[in-house]
């Protein structure tokens, strides 16, 4: 069995003691034992855990100081056996970023990859790099890691020079061994120089992203481990069952809590009849404040039963909290905006429309879609010694620490978050909410408590990607050139939730906390990809009637607005191509924006490369869509779409089969040409891109949060269906086109790769369905009933 995990060793050792407990009886008996504390007071304890004996279930006393990013020792520890541990302030949402950090840092340090390990995201022992978000792992956050590792190598070479009596420029380093070039028998290992000791080297830089020593990072051409595909280190423990996840944490004396959510959105607690659960075996307490209610029991199944059984008298709100999901888009189009963006206007679109030969217009609707994590939100909080430790998979562990401290009114240095692996999280998930809930209950009852949401809570109450209602108009001249363009988006995104905000986490809302100014939210306009002489892009945000304590709440979900806006913009480009009777790929190529600035030109060159590559890989047949309709039950078609996010450029082609009798759509083949600059781990990148595309297939074909005028009715995997094995594509090709077309640029930088591949796919599918059937679908998701109705209307 693999025992290696990437949680801190002292935490792992502590958890091991308790997870091996064979039965509940032993479990309870063992609660009287003494255990080794896993306090880690500052970075000094990175090498050797503090061995103070403290009572069971206790965390050590003393403040949790912030590891100082200015100290090289906060980033790298070299051990006597010539191995190294890297400490990074990042978390992983399942893309294997830890492996890539290790590759970059091992390469800079000149150590063998398999002699290093990486610990991520626990607030008391890794510097605050914010956790995850925005696909910044390689693009931004790996830079200080690379510079710290380069600095460590520089310092080690100086130490080696002093030890061997050989000038630095006459030394070579290989796999953590420094040797004289002239006489390799004269050598010393990193471990011999600094093993188990501190570097005591101070870095400079005003913020963590700027942290640097005196050493320069290596030119990309000198990397040996970067660009290889070592297998992800986290995977073996995930397939043999040995990994300890945040959901697995147990401590002596721990109890279980389950929430009792309002049965109707906006309902108020009038009374709680605690006698309805007091007699239950294992009952501990009903914890409630305002409209937040939870039942705490000794055992998990008891808490589940208790939460179901507790009698709460709820008062329904006087007015409907929201329109039904069927009426949503009508409501959004008629609502008074809470804010409007300043339109982006180029040329004179109004005049251009009046002189256009052909004008077309279309509306696109994208519903609320959920994270709906495979594991409902959870956290374990330990309140011992007047402090608070939260074991969580939240991707922003540092934010959770700040949020929980403020929410509980505790000094921040008495709170820490130990990040552990959890279900996929692509943005602001309910893991944030669960963290504050566990901490609150733990403080109330003075015992470690594990909170987990049930499936219906997760699906109904987790934050959602905002719904979009988009209107686009385009004008073609007589030659079929796009000369006028007007894009307007409306997003239901008012009061968009940030991460770990102590005044907007769900428990705070339910307790009656109200922020005076709700977050404005946003409605994205598409990336400015095409050179259209006269164009206008504008957007508005609207809100639903119930602003607080609502299950229909929005937060970031994987490229927060990109899939929605790109569905509309890249579908419409296809509609224009069809109106111009042009091949949709050629129509795009002709309009690629020729930026005059360096960034724009760089992106354009790479955009052309990805579009050409995707066409070649798919063997694209250049012709207008739709193709002549087939005669059988199964109609096939192909569609293309393209997008960028910052400097990551992606072109995708989808091949579909549409069953004209059932309306079932099968995405049979996916091709992606992807350019994200420097690639650290090609295989891990390919896998990330594959899954990002399939995530979008799921969103396009299946996913919609549905609700009536009282509550969310999507509450499980039947009422919130997703892509399944049966509809997995037959073939997926991911071509990594990464390269710098400008030979004068010295080094290719890495750009984010976690989200861009999600963006164009919704439109690519719609475009492929149009190619197959001649029917344009403008309302996501394309479930069979909706597709069939559209086909029947068009008499396909």
């Amino acid at each position: 069995m693999t025992t290696f995990t990437n949680i801190p060793k002292h935490v792992e050792e502590e958890l091991e003691k308790w997870t091996l407990t064979p039965s509940r009886r032993n479990f309870l008996k063992s609660a009287g034992l003494l255990v080794v504390s896993f306090s880690a007071a500052g970075t000094g304890s990175l090498v050797t855990p503090v061995n103070a004996q403290t009572p069971a279930g206790s965390q050590g006393a003393g403040a949790y100081h912030d590891p100082d990013f200015h100290q090289l020792d906060s980033w790298i520890v070299i051990h006597e056996d010539n191995t190294a541990t890297f400490y990074v302030g990042k978390t992983d949402c399942g893309q294997g970023t830890g492996t890539s950090f290790r590759q970059l840092m091992s390469d800079e340090l000149d150590m063998a990859y398999d002699k290093t390990t990486c610990i991520m995201g626990s607030t008391d022992i890794t510097v605050d790099q914010g956790g995850s978000g925005g696909s910044t792992a390689m693009e931004r956050d790996a830079w200080p890691m690379r510079r710290a590792a380069a600095e460590a190598r520089r310092v080690l070479l100086e130490m080696g020079s002093a030890r061997l009596g050989v000038p630095v420029d006459q030394l070579a380093v290989n796999a953590g061994v420094i040797a004289a070039k002239a006489d390799p028998s004269k050598s010393v290992t990193y471990g011999q120089l600094v093993g188990g000791k501190r570097f005591n080297v101070t870095l400079t830089g005003n913020n963590v992203n700027a942290a640097t020593g005196m050493a320069k990072v290596k030119p990309v051409g000198e990397y040996k481990i970067v660009g290889q595909s070592p297998q992800r280190y986290d995977i073996p423990a995930k397939v043999d069952g040995s990994l300890k996840w945040a959901v697995d944490v147990k401590l002596p004396g721990m109890v279980h809590a389950r929430n009792v959510k309002p049965p109707v959105a906006g309902a108020k607690v009038i009374g709680i009849d605690e006698s309805s659960v007091r007699g239950l075996p294992g009952f501990v307490k009903v914890v409630s404040k305002g409209n937040y209610v939870a039942v705490v029991c000794e055992r998990e199944e008891q808490a589940i039963k208790g939460a179901k059984q507790l009698k709460v008298n709820w008062e329904k709100p006087a007015t409907a909290p929201f329109p039904s999901s069927e009426e949503l888009f009508q409501y959004m189009r008629g609502a008074t905006p809470t804010s409007s963006s300043k339109p982006i206007v180029v040329g004179n679109p109004d005049t251009a429309f009046t002189s256009a030969a052909t004008v077309i217009e279309a509306d696109y609707d994208i519903p609320f879609q959920g994270h709906t994590a495979i594991s409902p939100a959870h956290a374990m909080a330990d309140p011992s010694n007047g402090q608070m430790t939260i074991y969580s998979n939240d991707m922003k562990s540092y934010g959770m620490r700040r949020g929980v401290a403020t929410f509980l009114g505790m000094p921040q240095d008495q709170v820490r978050v130990v990040w552990m692996e959890g279900p996929q999280g692509f943005g602001r998930t309910a893991a944030d909410d669960a963290g504050c809930e566990a901490a609150y209950i733990a403080k109330e009852i003075g015992r470690p408590v594990r909170v987990q949401w049930m499936r219906d809570e997760e699906t109904a109450w987790d934050t959602k990607a905002p719904a979009f209602a988009v209107k686009v108009r385009g004008g073609l001249d007589a030659a079929g050139n796009l000369v006028a363009y007007d894009y307007n988006a409306r997003a239901a995104d008012y009061n968009h939730l940030g991460y770990n905000e102590p005044d907007t986490v769900l428990i705070a809302q339910l307790m009656g906390v109200r922020r005076s100014t709700p977050a404005a939210g946003s409605a994205a306009t598409p990336s400015d990809m095409y050179a259209i002489p006269h164009r206008r892009m504008s957007s508005q945000v609207v809100g639903l009637p119930l602003l607080w304590e609502t299950p229909v709440r929005t937060g970031n979900l994987r490229d927060p607005n990109g899939p929605q806006s790109t569905f509309a913009s890249e579908s419409f480009i296809d509609e224009l191509a069809a109106a111009a009777k042009a091949d949709p790929l050629e129509f795009r190529m002709k309009m690629l924006k020729a930026g005059t600035d360096d960034d724009g030109a760089f992106r354009r060159a790479r955009s052309i490369a990805v579009l050409k590559t995707v066409a070649e890989t798919y063997d694209w047949d250049y012709r207008p869509s739709p193709k002549p309709r087939g005669s059988g039950d199964i109609l096939t078609g192909r569609g293309v779409a393209y997008a960028f996010r910052n400097q990551t450029v992606v072109a995708e082609i989808v091949e579909v089969e549409v069953n004209r009798r059932t309306g079932h759509v099968w995405v049979k083949r996916l091709v992606c040409a992807h350019d994200c600059g420097l690639i650290v781990n090609p295989e891990a990148l390919r896998h990330t891109v594959e899954c990002a595309m399939l995530h979008s297939v799921s969103r396009t074909l299946h996913e919609e949060v549905q609700f009536n005028t009282e509550k969310v009715t999507s509450t499980d995997w039947n009422s919130y269906p997703t892509l399944t094995h049966a509809d997995t594509p037959e073939r997926i090709d991911v071509v990594l086109v990464n390269g710098d077309p400008n030979p004068k640029r010295s080094d290719l930088a890495p750009y984010g790769a976690g989200e861009t591949a999600c963006k164009p796919l919704l439109a690519a599918i719609a475009n492929a369905i149009y190619d197959a059937t001649g029917v344009r679908l403008r309302r996501v998701p394309f479930r069979p009933a909706r597709v069939l109705a559209a086909l029947e209307t068009a008499r396909v």
Binding site: V239, G241, E301, S375, R455, S698, W717
Partner: protein, 165 residues
């Protein structure tokens, strides 16, 4: 509370628990076998899958008292410190993203291959269809099943060769 004996991964455990408790919580909380995981509590996603009598069952909706035969969990697949071929195939294909559902994917695939050692694509998709992955690793799961099936067949062939020799 009832006295219940459970045989899991070759070991017998005596328990004093409420007989209606779903097996999942007993495995996770009393026996510290945390390969099976809570995903929905409704038998819809498969994250809690264990194998009983050769069948992949959903432990979140199975009362502990209903289980009369030996239970195999993810932790019980490896033999003598060697991973089951399917687990090795999962590593070779680098299947997981977050990995939270992979218990269900691997255990369901194991039961599938035990019944049908060489499923065609349609059978493999159908057999796995109710086992959900929110990271959408389905494409690699399907590849790993093919690879695992071949590894198992090769192991059997090698064993037969040995017997003949």
């Amino acid at each position: 509370m009832s006295n219940i004996a459970l045989k899991v991964n070759g070991r017998i455990h005596a328990l004093d628990v409420d007989a209606s408790t779903p097996l999942l919580y007993i495995l996770r909380n009393d026996l510290s076998l945390q390969g099976p995981r809570f995903g929905c509590g409704l038998g819809q996603c498969g994250a809690c899958t264990v194998i009983v009598n050769g069948a992949a069952i959903r432990s979140c909706v199975t009362p502990v008292s209903a289980v009369k035969s030996e239970i195999t969990t993810l932790e019980g697949l490896a033999k003598d410190g060697k991973l089951h071929p399917l687990q090795q195939a999962w590593i070779d294909e680098q299947v997981p993203q977050c990995g939270f559902c992979q218990n269900g994917q691997i255990m369901t695939a194991k039961a599938l291959l035990d019944k049908n050692p060489h499923p065609n694509d349609a059978q493999s998709r159908e057999g796995m269809n109710r086992t959900l992955c929110r990271c959408m690793t389905y494409y690699r799961v399907q590849a790993a099943i093919k690879r695992g099936a071949k590894m198992i067949a090769d192991t059997h062939a090698a064993a037969e060769k040995e017997v003949v020799a």
